[in-house]
Structure formats: structure tokens, C-alpha cells
């Protein structure tokens, strides 16, 4: 012993005496008492499950006397019938194979028939040569936890149901914003592609093709900023405004001017939403069609010509629709002859992310793709674009719409 201080042997000192006083009650504790009155149930069974030892805590939870259980009952006898099935098919085989098992949720049946949700851990004690001697099991009261888990499961099922309802609603609403099928235009082949980025939200892209007169057809394709219910309401307004305006005066510049006015008027109510759109009127003429087209800030359409060339079409028009008052739009006329294919699309197509760098697909790539397709037909162009976009997988992260028109070769 080196040194001599106040806490030297024989003199525990002031501090030591105080500590002893605090630990006094602990000295009263014993392993036996700890076993019997631990805040969890202890159970030892023979390898076949017969109860060999049980602590007072578990007896008080179950309402049995020691004599009723030890030597007479098996662990599985303490379980509910469903728990017994679970024990025999999952718990016991895994315990036998692994030597231990933990965190298993079971329900005990008390002497008066009540159910006690518990969490069970078991470990096999083996002899020196590896023979199983007994199974030690600790049992933790899990009433609160089980109630909480039930609530979690219930909430999750509820959320799943709500999500299904929402998706049904979205699908139904989406359908009302797109033509159920494209009309039959004599002398013209038409096809369309639509991709909604989310099953939980209505997309903001839209298109339509409809008869204006016997030999005249209106068409449009556009993109409302944003998505979801509010955007869907604006999309709906845009659709009926365009259709109604075209009946009154089918000049595309005038139609877009009318839409711009309507969007400006309801700008605040619409939450400041605007859109891009191209509106056109198709008139049968000779062996093809004349397409008069105006654009409100919309991406330039593509023409895949009969001679195998392809190019963006400069279309007169004006700025985004719904942003500035009193805009005057202009129209451009494009001639569609036999073998020509005309494509209107939204920027979901060109802004899709590609490759590992996740760069945008882009106008140049689209032009090169279109040049590779030309000459084409509406159906075949849509097939190719569908395959292209599906190949991008989750790179296609926005809504995308494509409307294709082609004049068959006679």
C-alpha cells in the first residue's frame, strides 16, 4: 500500500461512508431476488418445452401458481392458439436450428383467459458437448408497444387505401383532360403519346384534335406550369376555352389571343398559372393538308419530310400564354404533303434526363433522332418515341405529350 490519505485501508473516510449508505439497499438485493422479481418474466424449460422454472413476475402476470406450471405445463401451453401455431411453425424450429431467437411478438393467455402481448427472447443452454440442456426465455410486457404497432398497421392500411382512392381519382380526372381517342381524319394518320410523371398527381400536359367543319380540324397541344389539382382545373379551363374560341373564329392567332385574355382575367384565381401551347387548324387541300399554326411560347414542332430530311419549324406566335396583357399572336402555314410527318411535343421530351451524367436529352438529340426516323408515319414515329422514352426509365421525370400527324403516301 503506498501513500497515506484519508481513504486509506482501515479508514474509508467521509466520502466512502456516504457511498456505503447510498448502496446499503443494494446490498439487501440478491441474485435470487433479482431473478424472482425482475421487471421481466423468466422461464426455463427443458428442450421439449416443459416448464422447469418460472419467476414470480411471470407467475403474477399469468395468474398461475408455481405448482400449476412447473413440471406440468409446456411453454406453448401459455400461448394463444394462433401463437401456438406460430410457435410450432416458426419459433421452435428456428430456435432449434439457431440456438437463439429474439424479439418475437407473441401473446400469452393468462389463467383467467385474458391475452397479454409480449416480446419473447429465447436461448438454448447446451452442455459441454453441445447437447441442449434447457431453453432460457425472457418475456417482456409489450402491451403498450403492441397497441402502438396495431395503430401503425391500421394507419398504414388506411394510408394505402387513401392512396388507391387518390390514384383512381387522378386517373379519372386525367382521362377527362385528354381525348378518349383521336378522331378519324380522312386522308390523315394521327397518333399520340402521353406520359404522366406521377400516379398521384394529374399531369399538366394536354392535347386535343377535333372537327371544326367537314374538311377542317382543330388541334392543340400544351403544357400548364405545375401539376396536381389546381393545374388540372386550369387545364380544363384551357381546353374548353380553346375549343369554344375555335368555333367562334378558327384563326389560330385569334384563338391564342382569346386564351391569353381568359388566362389573364383569371390569373389571380388560377394562382398565377400560365401555359405554353400550340394551336393549329388543318384544312384538307389537294393531296395533303394545310396546317395553320400559332404558338404561345411553345417548343418548335418538328417536320419529318417525305424526302427523309427533318427540321424544326419556325412558327409565328407570341410569348407564354397568361403572362402579358394585350399580346397579338401571328400564325404560320405549313404544308403537309404525302409522306410528311408532323410532330408537336411538350418539353418533358427534350428535358428528360439521359445517361449517367443525367444531362438533358435536348433539342439537338431530338432533331438527330427525328432525322433518323424520317421519312416516317404518325404511328411509327409515336412507336419510336415511346420506345425512346421508356428506355430513359426514371430519367423521364416530367409529364410528356406528343401528337403526330402524317399524310400517307398515295
Amino acid at each position: 500500500m503506498s501513500g497515506a490519505g484519508p481513504a486509506d485501508a482501515g479508514d474509508v473516510g467521509e466520502d466512502g461512508r456516504r457511498q456505503d449508505a447510498r448502496l446499503g439497499p443494494l446490498l439487501e438485493d440478491s441474485t435470487e431476488d433479482l431473478y424472482e422479481n425482475a421487471p421481466c418474466g423468466y422461464l426455463s424449460t427443458l428442450p421439449d418445452g416443459q416448464i422447469a422454472r418460472v419467476n414470480a413476475t411471470l407467475l403474477s402476470w399469468l395468474g398461475y401458481t408455481r405448482g400449476e406450471l412447473v413440471g406440468h405445463r409446456y411453454f406453448s401451453d401459455l400461448l394463444t392458439a394462433g401463437g401456438r401455431l406460430y410457435h410450432e411453425t416458426h419459433f421452435a424450429p428456428l430456435l432449434a436450428m439457431q440456438g437463439e431467437i429474439g424479439g418475437v411478438a407473441l401473446e400469452l393467455q393468462t389463467a383467467d383467459g385474458a391475452r397479454l402481448p409480449v416480446l419473447v427472447n429465447s436461448a438454448v443452454k447446451t452442455s459441454a458437448n453441445g447437447e441442449p440442456l434447457l431453453i432460457r426465455t425472457t418475456i417482456v410486457d409489450a402491451r403498450d408497444r403492441r397497441a402502438y404497432e396495431r395503430e401503425l398497421l391500421r394507419a398504414r392500411r388506411e394510408a394505402d387505401r387513401e392512396r388507391e382512392r387518390l390514384q383512381l381519382l387522378v386517373t379519372t380526372l386525367q382521362r377527362t383532360l385528354l381525348p378518349p381517342e383521336l378522331p378519324d381524319v380522312p386522308g390523315l394518320e394521327v397518333a399520340a403519346y402521353y406520359h404522366a410523371a406521377s400516379r398521384d398527381e394529374v399531369g399538366g400536359d394536354f392535347y386535343d384534335l377535333f372537327a371544326l367543319a367537314r374538311d377542317r380540324w382543330g388541334l392543340f397541344l400544351g403544357d400548364v406550369c405545375g401539376k396536381g389539382a389546381a393545374a388540372a382545373a386550369v387545364t380544363s379551363q384551357i381546353r374548353y376555352t380553346l375549343r369554344a374560341a375555335a368555333v367562334y373564329d378558327p384563326d389560330p392567332a385569334t384563338v391564342l389571343g382569346t386564351l391569353n385574355m381568359a388566362l389573364r382575367r383569371d390569373y389571380d384565381r388560377n394562382g398565377g398559372r400560365f401555359c405554353t401551347a400550340a394551336f393549329g387548324v388543318l384544312t384538307a387541300s389537294g393531296n395533303g393538308f394545310d396546317l395553320s399554326l400559332a404558338s404561345g411560347g411553345h417548343p418548335a414542332p418538328l417536320l419529318l419530310r417525305a424526302d427523309g430530311s427533318a427540321g424544326y419549324q419556325l412558327v409565328g406566335g407570341g410569348p407564354f400564354l397568361g403572362v402579358i396583357d394585350d399580346v397579338v399572336f401571328t400564325s404560320t402555314t405549313i404544308r403537309l404533303g404525302p409522306g410528311d410527318t408532323f410532330l408537336l411535343y411538350t418539353d418533358g421530351l427534350t428535358e428528360a434526363r439521359t445517361g449517367n451524367g443525367r444531362e438533358r436529352y435536348g433539342d439537338q438529340a431530338l432533331l438527330a433522332f427525328a432525322a433518323g426516323l424520317a421519312p416516317s408515319t404518325a404511328a411509327s414515329a409515336i412507336d419510336s418515341i415511346t420506345a425512346l422514352l421508356e428506355g430513359l426509365g426514371d430519367g423521364l421525370d416530367d409529364d410528356a405529350a406528343v401528337l403526330a400527324l402524317s399524310v400517307p403516301r398515295s
Binding site: D48, A81, G82, Y86, A105, R146
Partner: protein, 258 residues
């Protein structure tokens, strides 16, 4: 998995609800010394191809029996001694009724043709008990991977070993486990027993909470000419709790006179 000499009789081991072919691990290696042993996981269990699972196909035990016959055809197995544990006992019964020539013998370990009590018949369970089991499956499935496949051997030097084992023991997809539980415990194959024409051995455990002695006696009485052996084993899995006795009973019946 196929093990054992090619020229020996084929013994096909089929696991029941709740586990996979691992359940035979204490019995299969010794059996493979004298027999050609075929082990497999039912679709949805163990390492089976989960994408092959279809709710309609596996809504009845016929789908599982069909799989057994497919395996036999694929591996060109003949004179098969089929050993079916738990629900696989009835799967074997159905397979042997459909193609009796394929099988030389049936060994039914802890069989029950009907788990639910019914009009004078005592299966041991009620419909509510089965719902109770489904609830147990539900409340354990959040912790399924942790609780049902814990680290088996504390071997810090080789964590991948524990991982591999944890990965392979009785893994089940929770949704498939629910469906298999329904198919298993709501089936009624009592009427099929009398149609069995293959020599049959029933292995009964002395104390089995799932397939009690009186159910074993019922199966014995319904299958004409069947033999009943009661194993000194507690619980529903004698191949784990009494592997030697189980092995001896299987080997002696399989190699005995046809």
C-alpha cells in the same frame, strides 16, 4: 438440391409451412449416404424464385402438388419415396393420388388433413385461431428479417457467414407467408385420404400441438394399409427435436419391402 448415390432409391424431402428445406438439415446428410435425396423449397419459401408465386395457383394445395410432380418429371424421378412434413404431407397425398405410379411410398410426418374442428371431427383449431395466427404473422413481419433471421453464430471474424446463414434460414415474404398460412390451415383433405393407393407410413410425434395424436390416428384409419409410428418427440418438428429417431424411421420404411 439433389445429393447421394444415383443408383439408390429416391427420397424426396418436402418442408412444411413456416420454414424451408433447412428444416431437414439434421436428417438429410445421413439419409444421403443410403438414398438419393431430393430437397426443394416450395415456391415462396427459402431460396425459391419469388416471382414464380401466383396467388391463384397457390390458393389450394393442388398448386403445390403440381409443383412436386413437375420436379419429379423434370428430374425424371421414379419410384419416389415422398417424405412430407406438416402441410407437405397432404401435398404428397394429392400428388400420389394424381400420379400413383410415380411414387413407391409416402411418409407423412405430423400430417393433418384438416386443422379446423368440424362436425364431430377434431382438428384442434377454430377459424378464429387461424385468424389469430395471421395476426401473429402480421405483428412479427415488421421485425421479420431481424427476429426471424438473427445472427446465428457470433463469428466476428467472418460476418459474411452469419449474414449468409441469416439470409438462408426460413426466409419468407410476409405476403406469401399469409397466403400460404391460409391455404395450409383452411384446407380440408379428409376425403382424399381414402384415395391413397401407395404404401404409407405416418410418423406421429408423441406431443404435437399442431397435429395431435387423434388426428394421426384419423389419417391412419383412413389410409388403408398404412402404418403408424409414434416418435418420442415433442413439438411439430421431429426432424429437429428427435433427428435420430426420425432418420431411422424414414430409412427403415424407405428401404423396407414395397
Amino acid at each position: 438440391m439433389v445429393a447421394g448415390p444415383e443408383d439408390r432409391p429416391v427420397v424426396m424431402l418436402a418442408h412444411g409451412f413456416g420454414c424451408d428445406q433447412n428444416l431437414w438439415r439434421l436428417v438429410a446428410p445421413s439419409l444421403a449416404e443410403d438414398f438419393r435425396v431430393v430437397l426443394f423449397d416450395h415456391v415462396g419459401a427459402g431460396r425459391s424464385d419469388l416471382s414464380a408465386w401466383q396467388p391463384e395457383r397457390y390458393a389450394t394445395l393442388d398448386g403445390y402438388a403440381d409443383d412436386v410432380l413437375r420436379i419429379c418429371r423434370e428430374l425424371e424421378l421414379r419410384q419416389v419415396v415422398f417424405v412430407g412434413h406438416s402441410v407437405s404431407a397432404m401435398i404428397g397425398v394429392l400428388a400420389a393420388i394424381r400420379e400413383p405410379d410415380r411414387f413407391s411410398k409416402l411418409i407423412l410426418v405430423g400430417p393433418s388433413p384438416r386443422y379446423i374442428d368440424d362436425d364431430g371431427y377434431r382438428g384442434g383449431f377454430s377459424r378464429a385461431d387461424i385468424d389469430d395466427l395471421l395476426e401473429s404473422l402480421d405483428s412479427n413481419y415488421l421485425g421479420w428479417s431481424a427476429a426471424m433471421a438473427p445472427v446465428i453464430m457470433g463469428n466476428p471474424e467472418r460476418p459474411e457467414l452469419a449474414e449468409e446463414l441469416a439470409d438462408s434460414f426460413c426466409r419468407t415474404d410476409p405476403a406469401i407467408a399469409r397466403a400460404f398460412a391460409r391455404t395450409t390451415f383452411l384446407s380440408d383433405n379428409r376425403a382424399d385420404l381414402a384415395k391413397v393407393s401407395v404404401p404409407t407410413l405416418i410418423l406421429q410425434c408423441s406431443r404435437d400441438a399442431i397435429a395431435p395424436a387423434e388426428v394421426g390416428a384419423f389419417v391412419h384409419a383412413e389410409i388403408a394399409g398404412s402404418a403408424l409410428v409414434t416418435l418420442p418427440a415433442t413439438g411439430h418438428c421431429p426432424q429437429l427435436s428427435a433427428p435420430e429417431a426420425t432418420l431411422a424411421a424414414i430409412a427403415s420404411f424407405a428401404s423396407g419391402p414395397p
